[in-house]
């Protein structure tokens, strides 16, 4: 009895922390429609900041708390909203989620950079460490009592803020109808900003409270958010009392499990499978159940207008691309060192995983956070099935995983949008915790996946595997192109663009979604089955899936090229870290930083690059000019005027920074044209004048120099030629509320309304 009571108190205080986190999640979701996956990471950063102030710099606790919770956290939240989230209005759920994934990756990278794991650092003490009171014969620490107090305070404050203040009323109005609020003179943007600030404070509070219990560790603090998801979903993402109840239940489950799992009556295995991973899986299981008991998502008309655009890929360019990709890999693979070969191999493997998202996320608009899980299942199937890696085994492995993917998707398909994405995350965590850690799958930590046996071809070197994987990517890419051009592809896009129209035209939405999931799982399985080496379950962990999803979306998840770009970027990022050790920390925050910019460019980098060059199509005079320029650079190199590295750098700048700007130069007004021409020419001359072979001595630094030069020269010229002042992004309904109409606006309005002023 005593034990039950003790663990009840422990459970409830854990639950109190979950409740604080979850309420922050609910606040931002309801006011901005963005489900913040990075919410736990915010709390983690706040906990580290507090530790820095309080224990490293010895700032008194009240001041440190005030600074962290009421200055830095709100500032961070408001800044996140202003800089990152506001650009996301009117984009797809996929992009919005990816941006929070990016934020998540960014913050973890930042914490790793600023506070590297260090066992000798000051301990994170509880509030009033060592003090406790006795309640009914049980010692309860002051920290726990404070935790309870905070949860109750949060509940009361939220209630008061939402129902008794003007801002609260505005927040609830935004939840109900954002546009209507705006028409009535409310400022949804300000409301969202306030909500994000409030939510960051809540996350920070929870992070500090939890760090007191569990010390400063990045992972538990970040994964805290999974418990919070479960609680928030129980509250259906809007009901705060239900959210608090869910949090309490989760805290208790965890605590009781801790208390009773060692008892003899507690099952240690089921059907021969060990249940050792179940504790970590409890919140996920609750999340899964909470998701599946949600009512079927209703067909609704009038959803989002998409900003992304994808073109139908042509066969000619696709085949040309596939063939040249393989040719390039064959050509350069002979020159690579062993470690670079392995890194590139990894890049192509990731590209296949990213490719698995193209039909599912890019075409059908269904977000999956579990692409690597299917790769892991593919690796297991390839290793366990008889045949030791012959083609039949490979095909069977892929088919099995595809079927598993389709079946697993079935219960989740009643859900849409964020709920579907979360259920795939739950699936990924469950598989990681309950399947990958079994003796039957990864005995002794890893398994050897046999190399695919192709008749008449012997593949044993890393180079051979690299060529194999690149070829596989090309073939699968062509498969995806074929799908896009087929009846199925049109259906997938129709499903994304308007489920309501698709259904009322006779599409069985469930069947189409299952097909998309199965196809995606099958492609993902190829990545695992082609591993051809020892693999460990960590490689297929849920947290590893997030960067893949992120970079696929950054590259452009609607196109095969985007998947390649994303996968290679992921591989290239680890190359960067190994080539330039001083930039290791930068590489930690790089994927996140890139992802955060998605709001400005939701179609992805590959699409944008292609767009930049599309303007040159048919402009023969410009194309000749570009060719001539390239020839001049080459000729200068051949005449030994330019060094080889300068040739590379100047060439890249010529093609990527100067060439795409040429049509704009020709089209812009004469004054701007002159400035732009001078700017571009100066940039080019400076680039060519530096001998990059001696100026920088590490390849990685030169690569970074190239990126910076292209950005400065290319984007700079673009900025010069942008005509007129930038258009205000404000909705017309808000103009005039914050400031008076300008004369120009009045004139425009009169013109539009055809008012004649005499």
């Amino acid at each position: 009895m005593q034990q039950l009571l003790t663990f009840t108190i422990i459970g409830l205080s854990t639950g109190a922390i979950y409740a604080v986190v979850a309420s922050g999640l609910v606040v931002t979701y309801t006011t901005s429609g963005i489900f913040n996956l990075a919410h736990g990471a915010t709390g983690m950063l706040a906990a580290f900041t507090y530790w820095q102030l309080r224990f490293d710099w010895d700032v008194p606790a009240p001041i440190a708390l005030f600074l962290t919770l009421f200055v830095l956290c709100p500032l961070f939240g408001a800044l996140t909203e202003r800089v990152v989230m506001r650009g996301l209005q009117g984009t797809t759920e996929v992009v919005r989620l990816s941006v929070t994934v990016a934020l998540f990756a960014f913050m973890i990278g930042l914490a790793n950079w600023v506070w590297p794991s260090d066992s000798s650092r000051e301990a994170f003490l509880k509030f009033f460490e060592g003090n406790s009171v006795s309640i009914a014969g049980i010692n309860v620490s002051w920290h726990r009592i404070i935790t309870f107090g905070c949860a109750i305070l949060v509940a009361i404050v939220l209630r008061l803020v939402l129902f008794r203040t003007r801002m609260g009323v505005a927040m609830r109005a935004v939840v109900d109808d954002r546009n209507l609020t705006e028409l009535n003179g409310g400022r949804p943007d300000r409301v969202s900003m306030f909500a994000w600030a409030l939510s960051a404070t809540l996350a920070g509070l929870a992070g500090i409270l939890l760090a007191g219990e569990q010390q400063l560790n990045i992972e538990p603090l970040v994964l805290l958010v999974i418990n919070a998801y479960a609680a928030a979903i129980i509250g259906r993402l809007k009901n705060l009392p239900l959210t608090f109840l869910g949090a309490a239940v989760l805290g208790l489950l965890d605590s009781y499990y801790l208390a009773y799992s060692d008892e003899s009556w507690f099952p240690q295995s089921a059907f021969g499978f060990s249940l050792a991973g179940i504790r970590a899986a409890i919140p996920t299981i609750v999340l899964f159940i909470a998701l599946l008991t949600r009512p079927q998502s209703r067909l609704r008309a009038g959803i989002v207008r998409f900003r992304e655009e994808t073109r139908v890929p042509e066969w000619s360019t696709s085949i040309l691309g596939a063939v040249s990709l393989v040719a390039v890999v064959v050509a350069i693979s002979g020159m690579l060192t062993r470690s670079n070969t392995l890194l590139l191999l990894n890049g192509f493997t990731m590209a296949i995983v990213a490719l698995s998202l193209v039909p599912l996320t890019g075409y059908a608009g269904q977000m999956s956070l579990a692409p690597l899980t299917f790769a892991g299942l593919g690796a297991i199937a390839m290793a366990k099935l008889p045949g030791d890696g012959n083609i039949a085994t490979f095909v069977l492995a892929v088919v099995i995983v595809a079927v598993v993917g389709g079946i697993v998707a079935l219960p989740a398909l009643r859900l849409s949008g964020i709920y579907l994405a979360l259920s795939t995350a739950a699936f990924a965590v469950l598989v990681t915790k309950l399947v990958f850690n079994q003796k039957q799958t990864f005995q002794s930590g890893n398994i050897a996946v046999p190399i695919l046996k192709i008749p008449f071809v012997e593949i044993d070197s890393p180079r051979g595997r690299l060529i194999l994987t690149a070829t596989a990517f090309s073939l699968l890419g062509l498969l995806v192109v074929a799908v896009r051009r087929s009846r199925l592809g049109r259906r997938l896009i129709a499903l994304k663009d308007s489920p309501a129209a698709a259904a009322t035209l006779g599409m069985n939405l469930t069947r189409t979604k299952v097909a998309a999931f199965a196809l995606s799982a099958g492609i993902g399985a190829c990545a695992g089955a082609l591993a051809g080496d020892k693999v460990s379950p960590q490689q297929y962990d849920f947290t590893q899936s997030l960067p893949v999803v992120l970079l696929a979306v950054v590259g452009g998840v609607g196109t095969v090229g985007g998947a390649l770009f994303g996968g290679l970027l992921l591989g290239g990022n680890s190359v960067l870290a190994s080539v330039v050790p001083s930039l290791k920390n930068l590489s930690k925050i790089l994927p996140g930083t890139i992802g955060i910019t998605l709001g400005r460019n939701p179609s992805g980098a590959a699409t944008q690059t292609a767009e930049a060059f599309r303007v040159l199509k048919g402009r023969w005079n410009l194309l000749v000019f570009i060719g001539a320029g390239a020839f001049v650079i080459w000729a200068l190199t051949a005449a030994d005027v330019l060094s080889h590295w300068t040739f590379v750098v100047t060439g890249v700048v010529w093609f990527l920074a100067v060439a795409p700007n040429l049509p704009l130069v020709v089209a812009s007004s004469s004054a701007r044209r002159a400035t732009a021409v001078v700017y571009l020419a100066a940039g080019l001359v400076i680039t060519a004048a530096i001998d990059w072979s001696t100026a920088l001595d590490v390849t990685g630094q030169r690569l970074i120099a190239i990126v910076i030069l292209v950005a400065v020269i290319g984007l700079g010229a673009q900025r010069i030629m942008e005509s007129g002042p930038r258009v205000r992004a404000d909705s017309p309904d808000v103009i005039g509320l914050d400031r008076d109409f300008s004369g120009e606006e009045i004139e425009r309005a009169e013109r539009e309304l055809r008012v004649v002023i005499r």
Binding site: L299, E309, V312, R490, D497, S498, A503, G506, L509
Partner: protein, 235 residues
């Protein structure tokens, strides 16, 4: 012969009764109009008929078969197609592919010739290869109609097809609807453009506050005191 039969359909949202015991009948080869002030429940009724909204009570039959419990896609397969008041085109697909998806979903053979036929019939050949997401409202409405027709429906539900059309386009739409009805298609038309409704409809139902307050020929409706009151307020 009744093609569509709506029998005492009720829809409640919480405490609000949006549709309150509506009976409605649409025949093959006729254009049936459904009019009423804003908020009368027209779109809700459309959603019930097309399977996007489960009714609280009552039933819907198509061709004398009860389809109340069928999901939207099965109703479509039985010969029902609709357009939307707020456009629901597949914005990333070209206009042609929008229509093609529909023809393919109806499991028709010679898909391409049907697509061409629809493009010509509705008069959108000049925009056939543009992405549907970029179209102005008027053209987009025509594409939605062509897409719905490409499933070769028996019953076509049109939710305010003339809003956003100019007068000439609206006249053309009226002619198109008459031609379609002449081939045996049943059309149920929700529309605010009274000129169009009075010109093309064989029968008109008037919905107000969730109830049918009158039905009859255009001539009868125009002189019904209850209708005048609903539209103009107490006289």
């Amino acid at each position: 012969m009744s093609l569509l039969y709506v029998d005492r359909v009720i829809v409640r949202f919480g405490g609000v009764t949006a549709v309150d015991g509506v009976n409605l009948l649409a025949r093959a080869g006729e254009v049936t109009g459904l009019i009423g002030p804003n908020g009368a429940g027209k779109t809700t009724l459309f959603n019930v008929i097309s399977g996007m909204q489960e009714p609280t009570g009552g039933s819907v039959s198509l061709d004398s078969v009860d389809i109340t419990d069928l999901p939207a896609h099965k109703r479509a397969q039985r010969g029902m197609a609709r357009t939307f008041q707020r456009l629901e085109l597949f914005g990333s697909l070209s206009v042609r592919d929008n229509i093609k998806v529909a023809a393919e979903l109806a499991a028709l053979t010679n898909v391409n010739s049907i697509v061409d036929e629809m493009i010509e019939r509705v008069g959108i050949a000049d925009i056939a290869d543009r992405p549907a997401g970029d179209l102005p409202t008027g053209s987009a409405r025509l594409v939605e109609i062509a897409r719905a027709l490409a499933t070769r429906p028996k019953l076509l539900l049109l939710d305010e097809p003339a809003s956003g059309l100019d007068e000439a386009e609206s006249d053309r739409l009226g002619e198109l609807l008459r031609t379609l009805a002449a081939t045996g298609l049943g059309v149920l038309l929700v529309e605010h453009d009274m000129g169009l409704v009075m010109k093309v409809c064989d029968v008109i139902y008037v919905l107000d506050l969730g109830q049918i307050i009158a039905h009859g020929t255009p001539n009868e409706i125009q002189h019904d005191p209850k209708v005048l009151e609903a539209y103009l307020g107490a006289s």
